[in-house]
Assembly symmetry: C2
Homo-oligomer: 342 residues x 2
DNA sequence: GCCGTTCGTCGAAGCGCTTCGACGCTGACA
DNA sequence: TGTCAGCGTCGAAGCGCTTCGACGAACGGC
């Protein structure tokens, strides 16, 4: 193993000089620096992470807590996770993967042991039991999602309320009067997942303002459950012509079932999905959809933890940030003017 | 911050005694140990990870390299990743998330800096450029997947060749003579992803032995591309009655399209999927499928790195292990006896 | 009753890095 | 010409933990 001292000897300087040359925290003469850099490559020096963490009181690692619920849409989550690791690397940070099955204790553990300098929480519930831990231990953190009380925290999320409102507006503009909102399974709502509740609330408020009649139906997402959900909707409200779907798994079945029931999309029924663009693109017909960029969410979260880590290290009180990213509605082939009433 | 020394003072012993009491590496009197444990909880002591890594020459972290290719099935990958972190925790290890966009250099980096004690590689290609790095730097590693030359490595994977053979046998047993194998996009085969090639080879060998006629068609998995693929299959070989699908994304479209073309599954066409059980369950009709357990793969990989880390630390040469997990065929509703020839 | 063990504990020496204070130099300014 | 402010470098003191060797006490065997 090559150490700092080896590099120093090889370059004919003291080890503190090498340290400063590599960190840039003090000015070093150009000649000296190049000599050191050369020694580094010649010897193949890699600074020891443990020693660096110990002496510098920074592990250069952030923890990412990923959800385990079968309800979350895994590719979406994964896209955020990847964006987080990539963004973290740009700050010289690595990402520790934490699952939720250790509970809040896991978060405390990695922070208390100094394994991680900060934490990013995904799939934040309104009353999330990890949040009190963050506050009590003053752990630099960023949440992806919104707890009920975000004071003292940095949060980023899509503006799902607006997303819901956009759906209502779009269908109302097209002349639809009876809408069905097909959501996640009821467990998600019971768990108070913010994204589900906020979308629904945003939709509901705008729907009422626009004089829409609507039904909200949770749905497991399997073919059978979607069939049941749709059958009940059509039985309760046969005049329904607009569908809002916020459940990635239910989209495919819904389209198949509508077709099977003799309804053509978009001539007889309009479907608008709250889902990522690539997913909207791959169905047939391509779906009008509402979404925000996942990647940016991950990046923003990283910036937020970094800011909090820096502030905490400097002894300042970190600034709270709350960022709701505006969603965009993309009109594709699955929505059209409501059919004339018969 | 509470340190070992604080605990020692509080318990009235030396800090080395505390260290030994907590690690169990030397016998400590019961009375002393309980006193120490009490001090630990009273003070809320958490050992500092950096110091531990530095002094103990072990970071207690393994790196998990996840693929970025859009072709891999994300939920499957994530299931393995979760299984890995859970299994690692049981060994007192945490998991560092690495993406492939740093290339082989990322693997070298985490190992050389001592950030990670070992590495788990997912989505291993036959000629994987990370493998030479593992060998050159003697990095304790476990591969999920199979490179062309596994000497000096520990590998675990599903036995995809057998999976392919099971598919051929099942359809042959049911009397099908003309089979179409719908695979991943051609990029996957070009990339020499082992799982794709091995399944196909296993299928091909058994198909020939059983006198089956078959076509292999790569497929992107979108609705449109699946439609094109199916149309071409039926044009080239209209007498095709059996379908093997190894492409999670193509399953839904394929079923819809078969139905649309007037073929009932399983009466007119049998479909067998190489995919995880939950996915097979959620289609309609439920799919006969072949798969092995993802979770076990993650666990096995963790055991393998742990073994190699231990061996390396003890100065021994780690033992190579190659584990191919036998797949299982579950008959559900999508396969039946071939229709009588007309 | 003496020796050799084993058990339980201590002290000290690092692990490889960061960082603080100090110090010699050069150059600008009065 | 003397002074003072950087600049560039060095030495040393830790960071909090593990681990090695040592040592006293208790104990069994002859």
């Amino acid at each position: 193993m090559v150490t700092l001292a080896d590099v120093a000897r090889h370059a004919g300087v003291s080890s503190s000089t090498v340290s400063y040359a590599l960190s840039g925290k003090r000015p070093i003469a150009d000649r000296t620096r190049t000599r050191i850099e050369q020694a580094v490559t010649e010897l193949g020096y890699h600074p020891n992470a443990g020693a660096r963490a110990l002496a510098g009181r920074r592990s250069h690692v952030i923890a990412l807590v990923v959800p385990l619920h079968p309800e979350v849409h895994v590719p979406t989550m994964m896209e955020i996770a990847i964006a987080v690791t990539v963004a973290a690397r740009e700050h010289g940070y690595d990402v520790l993967l934490l699952t939720n099955n250790e509970g809040p204790e896991g978060v405390r553990r990695v922070a208390a042991t100094g394994l991680a300098d900060g934490v990013i929480l995904m799939d934040v519930r309104l009353d999330d039991d990890r949040v009190p831990v963050l506050r009590a231990e003053q752990i630099p953190a960023a949440l992806i999602g919104l707890p009920d009380d975000p004071t003292g925290l940095s949060c980023a999320d899509h503006d799902f309320a607006t997303a819901g409102a956009l759906c209502a507006d779009h269908l109302a503009d097209l002349g639809h009067r009876d809408i069905a909102f097909i959501g996640y399974s009821s467990g998600v709502y019971r768990r108070h997942a913010g994204y589900a509740e906020r979308t629904l609330n945003g939709f509901r408020a705008r729907a009422e303002r626009r004089d829409l009649r609507f039904l909200h139906r949770p749905c497991e997402g399997s073919y059978e459950s979607t069939a049941g959900t749709l059958a009940r909707i059509l039985a309760d409200r046969p005049e329904t012509t607009g569908f809002v779907v916020q459940n990635e798994a239910a989209i495919g079945p819904l389209l198949t079932l509508l077709r099977a029931s003799g309804r053509t999309v978009p001539e007889d029924a309009s479907v608008i999905a709250v889902c990522p663009d690539p997913m909207a693109e791959q169905h047939s017909p391509r779906l009008t959809s509402v979404t925000g960029p996942q990647k940016d969410l991950g990046q923003v979260a990283v910036e937020q933890v970094m800011a909090r880590i820096a502030a905490t290290a400097a002894g300042d009180r970190p600034e709270d940030r709350l960022l709701l990213m505006p969603p965009e509605l993309v009109v594709r082939e699955s929505t059209a003017a409501a059919p004339r009433r018969t």
